[in-house]
């Protein structure tokens, strides 16, 4: 187990974050006037009485934007160490390798653009 001052700093920040979020909640619990009513649990306390459920379902397409985001996120995982190493590398080979990597990902963007993923209405061409 390796424990260093970096961890102390991170934990201090974590604690500060918990305090920052927790104290207002606690304060409102202590200070705010209390009243209970069924009406207060409505999504909007005034205006029209809502009908139906608030649980609407979205189009499945939004899921794929999250999925694409995840894929590019994983790319960052690999690009970051490579970018850190790059200033210490020699020759043209690393440049070509990174270009190839980014080019293949660029192909994905071009493909989605052609397919119409980024356009409205959100349906791809068959």
């Amino acid at each position: 187990m390796i424990f260093s001052w970096l961890h102390v700093a991170i934990i201090l920040f974590l604690g500060a974050g918990v305090l920052f979020a927790g104290v207002p909640l606690l304060a409102s619990l202590l200070l705010a006037p209390k009243c209970k009513d069924e009406e207060l649990l409505l999504p909007y306390e005034c205006g029209l009485r809502p009908y139906g459920t608030s649980w609407v379902r979205f189009g499945i397409n939004y899921y794929f934007y999250a999925l694409l985001f995840l894929a590019f996120d994983v790319d960052v995982l690999y690009l970051y160490p490579v970018a850190v190493y790059y200033p210490f590398s020699e020759g043209f080979l690393p440049l070509i390798e990174i270009f190839l990597f980014v080019f293949i990902l660029g192909l994905a963007v071009i493909y989605f653009f052609k397919k119409g993923v980024f356009s409205w209405p959100r349906r791809i061409k068959v």
Partner: protein, 171 residues
């Protein structure tokens, strides 16, 4: 410093277990997801303790950042009303199976591990991010390039399979 390290380790285990319990027992799926996020945060902390801060940061970036969003979307797409069948209180027999089988597995595995596996004496060494990058551009060049190809194919496959198609209307 070792004592503090142990304390921090236990705090992380506490976060992980508490998050896991929230995930299992929360009535609302969104709250369950929040518990899962807490668990993933705790695991990231464990990576830091194992001298792998890069993996820890990426755990936060990918699992806490992206995968949990994915799961949240998946929740939003399902018809998971709180009046559904899953929300009813569990039967006694269900509780028994729920607690007995995983409990048996956990305790027997833990017992075997503590009893028979010798304690490690190696100190983990932190690998610099720079060195990782050197591996990607040096000896592991081909896997590095293939990663982007695999991700490309995965993204294209997802879009082809799942995206709503443009249907030609017959006028």
């Amino acid at each position: 410093m070792d004592k503090i390290g142990l304390g921090v380790f236990l705090a992380h285990v506490l976060i992980i277990v508490a998050g896991g319990l929230v995930t299992v027992f929360a009535r609302s799926l969104v709250r369950a997801l929040t518990g899962l996020i807490a668990t993933l945060f705790g695991v990231a902390g464990l990576y830091f303790l194992m001298a792998a801060p890069f993996i820890g940061v990426m755990q936060v970036l990918i699992y806490v950042g992206a995968v949990s969003i994915l799961i949240f979307f998946a929740i939003a797409f399902t018809k998971s009303s709180h009046l559904g069948e899953e929300a009813r209180p569990r039967k006694q027999s269900q509780w028994f199976f729920l607690l007995s089988v995983p409990g048996l597995v956990i305790f027997s595995l833990g017992y075997l591990l503590i009893k028979f596996i010798p304690q490690g004496f190696l100190q983990p060494q932190e690998t610099q991010v720079k060195d990782l990058g050197g591996f990607f551009l040096g000896p592991y060049m081909l896997p590095f390039e293939l990663i982007s190809l695999v991700l490309l194919v995965a993204m294209m496959g997802a879009v082809i399979l799942g995206f709503e198609k443009k249907i030609k209307r017959e006028d």
